[in-house]
């Protein structure tokens, strides 16, 4: 009885600590809104600096749409990536990224190649689920200046797209399997 009372009290004490503590790591709406506001400020700076083309605008819209469905962590993350897009674009305009230009070209070429592979797979109904998202991720990374990672992701997307095409071609003659015929004695 004494042991049970002690156990109950320990559980209650633990809950009294753990439940409020969740507030310290959970993303609040205010956190997400602050991140979006910062992304908008960066967007204005980028536009003022002459950055005409940027993924940041659509990413800010995506983050704002997530507020309605309370996906604050994801909204904050997307706002962060929007900030990185414009930060890098401003640096590039200011000539602060000369060493990266070759890598940028390589990353863009890999993304283009992966996109072509995706279209080829889709033309035979063989596109895999994640290739589209991987390409989007590669473009985001390239837009943020992370060309090594962008190439890595684009390369993986291309691999999956090629496998999807091979699979669809290998399955061209798919039909009732032999085991069905055998099961009914044919």
């Amino acid at each position: 009885m004494k042991t049970r009372n002690l156990a109950t009290r320990l559980v209650i004490a633990a809950l009294l600590v753990v439940i409020p503590a969740t507030a310290t790591w959970a993303t609040t709406r205010q956190d997400a809104e602050a991140a979006i506001a910062e992304a908008k400020t960066m967007r204005d700076r980028a536009a003022a600096a002459g950055v005409a083309k940027s993924e940041a605008g659509s990413m800010i819209e995506e983050a704002e749409s997530l507020l309605k469905v309370r996906q604050y962590t994801k909204a904050k993350m997307i706002a962060y990536w929007a900030i990185r897009q414009d930060e890098f674009a401003i640096d590039a305009l200011g000539g602060e990224t000369p060493a990266e230009q070759n890598k940028e070209a390589l990353a863009n070429a890999m993304i283009k190649s992966a996109e072509a592979a995706r279209e080829k797979a889709a033309s035979v109904g063989g596109e895999w689920r994640d290739v589209g998202d991987m390409l989007k991720s590669a473009k985001t990374l390239a837009g943020a200046g992370d060309f090594d990672k962008a190439m890595e992701v684009a390369s993986a997307a291309k691999f999956q797209a090629e496998k999807g095409y091979e699979q669809a071609m290998a399955e061209k003659n798919a039909d009732f399997p032999v085991y069905m015929h055998k099961a009914v004695g044919k």
């Binding site: 889709a122 109904g125 063989g126 596109e127 895999w128 689920r129 994640d130 290739v131 589209g132 999956q160 496998k163 699979q167 669809a168 399955e171 798919a174 039909d175 009732f176 399997p177 085991y179 069905m180 015929h181 099961a183 009914v184 044919k186």
Partner: protein, 280 residues
Amino acid sequence: MNKTLTMLSALGVGCLLAVPLAFASTPEEDQALWQSYFEKRFPQVPKQDFANGVYAIDPVGRENWEAIEEFPPYETAISNGEEMWNTAFANGKSYSDCFPDGPAIAGKFPHWDKEKGMVMTLPLAINECRTANGEKPLKYQKGPIADLLSYIEFESRGQVINVEIPKDDPRALEAYEKGKHFYFARRGQLNFSCASCHVGNSGTTLRTEILSPAFGHTTHFPVYRSKWGEMGTLHRRFSGCNKQVRAAPFEPQGEEYRDLEYFMTYMNNGLELNGPGARK
């Protein structure tokens, strides 16, 4: 000698070309094989019971399902659908004008539309009715379309599935063959076909769930699926299954899924419609 050689060569080529035709099966043969396979695999299940999906082969699940069916979660959808059916469009016309035999019309779909040269499904026909009368088309996976389909399917309960593949239009057979190919072709990063789970592994367990037999799959849609917490259509389920094997899903009511529905429903000929349904 030359003439003999030529004749023999022609005969050889002719035989080679005829081989695939010799092994090609007709839809009737496919259907007989399909239904025999499942009847042999699950000999304890009366034929009509296949329309109850996994609950035909899972006694514990069936007990839970029968309890749920006492107060079915799709009842509200049926009421909403009935209201939609009886509400006139802005131009004064209604669904009855497009479907004078309605609302018990589910047994007529899917069918081959010779004029349009495509498989016509019920959701597609509903949206054609709407757009012809100046209304916005409904989205195909969930929401109001599922409510309207629930009402129509409820009114159509008991109708016997009798999909035809007209012999006077080879395009209909082509659509059937495309649907059949889709069913048996492996796809996605996990390299599964529909048959991988619902034919060869039907009745076995995937994680905690028993895989339902494919025979009877199309009889009871739309369904209230507990996982969705709402109603959803057959093409929503197709899309989900494709995503689960990590294949990119196709457009709901696009050619691929309509042809697939055509094949699957033809395989179910003889079963009675029993939608809408409740599933896990």
